[in-house]
Symmetry: C2
Subunit: 373 residues, 2 copies
Amino acid sequence: MKYKAPAKITLIGSGHWGSAIALIVGRNAEKYRNDFDPEVRMWVHEEMVNGKKLTEIINTQHENVKYLPGKELSSNVVAVDDLVAACTNSDILIFVIPHQFVESICNQLKGHLKEGALAISLIKGFLIDKKEGVIRLVSEEIRELLNIDTAVLMGANVAQEVANEEFSEATIGYKGQKEKWPILKKLFESDNFRVNLTKDSNTVELCGGLKNIVACATGFADGLGCGNNTKAAIIRLGLLEIIVFVELFYHGSNIQTYFESCGIADLVAACSSGRNRKICEAFVKTRKSIQDLEREVLNGQSVQGPATAEAVFVMLKKHNMVSRFPLFVAVHQICNQQLSPSCLMEHLRECKSELPDNWVKGQQFFTNAYQCK
Amino acid sequence: MKYKAPAKITLIGSGHWGSAIALIVGRNAEKYRNDFDPEVRMWVHEEMVNGKKLTEIINTQHENVKYLPGKELSSNVVAVDDLVAACTNSDILIFVIPHQFVESICNQLKGHLKEGALAISLIKGFLIDKKEGVIRLVSEEIRELLNIDTAVLMGANVAQEVANEEFSEATIGYKGQKEKWPILKKLFESDNFRVNLTKDSNTVELCGGLKNIVACATGFADGLGCGNNTKAAIIRLGLLEIIVFVELFYHGSNIQTYFESCGIADLVAACSSGRNRKICEAFVKTRKSIQDLEREVLNGQSVQGPATAEAVFVMLKKHNMVSRFPLFVAVHQICNQQLSPSCLMEHLRECKSELPDNWVKGQQFFTNAYQCK
């Protein structure tokens, strides 16, 4: 879509990741004046920090002292505490809030958005469909609740490293008309943040969530004292289960997407660092529950791997596919203490080494969906 | 090939990796009596250990006290100090020696091998063609010097972890008649060592050598203090350069091979541990030369990444393809101190994100070369 006027941007969210990405978006909005309105609004869930409103601090100090201390936001990033006011008339809405708030935020925004506005979700992890117990994509939720075109941005993006301007990559997945989306690449890309676009949106988002299950498995392996061979095997077999799962439930993914940052890169990063790996290592070593460890090790932050593994398990059971996903299933059963962590190895031995059949027959490969730098 | 009599096995080599694999091969030869002659000969480059011949120690204590202390070989593994005697009448020859000895060993064996014998190379890393300065596959060398069918076994296989019976995977790549090779899977596979067969032999072997270049790059990144985003990006971009390089110089590889243990798994393992990564991290931190660090950090063991990067560079230059491989080229130029390690980032920015064109057009995908468990 060509905007007649420069596009107005709103960031919905101002946590650690939201503030990190605001550094880039703020600079780009200033830099590309033909494309973007330089004022970038950032919706802030208001709170008091050292006796001052967080919005006021951001708008005077240009620093999110609570969630990204030490990094200067460009002065065109304006904190706004009223969600609807922050989003009205915006052409591009960047969702970067904890996933559990998506529904309520969307419900507040209903009927207040500009026609033709675009959304992009930077939220990693899935929603769980309460009735069915299965996974639900955040982008689907936004798309349906707001009736708005919605893309996703995923990749190996530790927020602090992005904020430090360390070289990082990301993948934007979109659906529908190709012409609408290059503006998002322009908005997010910088010298140290390389962005590729692909229309294989579901795969991009699914990789971002499913990799947490695999990260749990590598955490268990670390807890068991396994070496590099085993961990490398888990990453490989986990990637194969991700691919087969996506193909099974969301048909028609593009193999190239797995070679994007959202694919192998994010998987590798999650399996070498990341909360899921850490908590699951501690789970094996301490025999405490995941919930207790979230409190003790992560100060109450939650990990998504176990819940994702559970929702995936429900889906597999429903489709009689439990035996096809030994790794995913093992993670679920270890997390809920049905299975001892040491049984992970037995499950690894059961893992399939095949890519999906329809790919092997060459039918669904390289659909030309791909577009890169 | 169907053997009329059980196949006789010889291991050519008895170092750390050779002894680790002898544990598995020895047990399997005993277990599958219909397929294998239970006596497994292991050629040992004779040396004195504590005043005794190493062959004698192995044949009495059933332990390679020098190269794999603490692990008991099954008694059917017989150490032999005479290379030709060890190989005469053998049906399967397992090459597991340092790559610099391949030519001389093959020359000694010429004319002494049983007709129809099979070879398999477990040697990681390439030979360098002295005249041209380009890489040369170990399997090609064996095949040509001995006129013998030659497979390769590669994967994420830290030898000590295999010896410890930690869960590991490997890939066997073969050429030619499919029927000849399943016996190798039977010979090497165990509960904790899963083996897949593919006829995409060149790719299997090329992955095993080229990954060392990428491991050097992650080592530089570690030396520079880079975080997980950058390292994940290096692994991803490195894998893409591996794929494009293989396609360019050895046409017709199968995408599935990169999803095997020899592909992403070995790459990930080399980039998280491994000598190349370690030496290159020290290279950045100490500013000493690679040669000095090999002496100081690895007690004189050599790393293959820098030499591989150099030979690859020669090939790229010859074909006017230097600009297509910014990561490979950066590793070479950093190793030979033409380029400062901090320039790695500039090269990363130049990296292409595309898979080979002929793949994108779907022409060469999934040739059905694949055969797995």
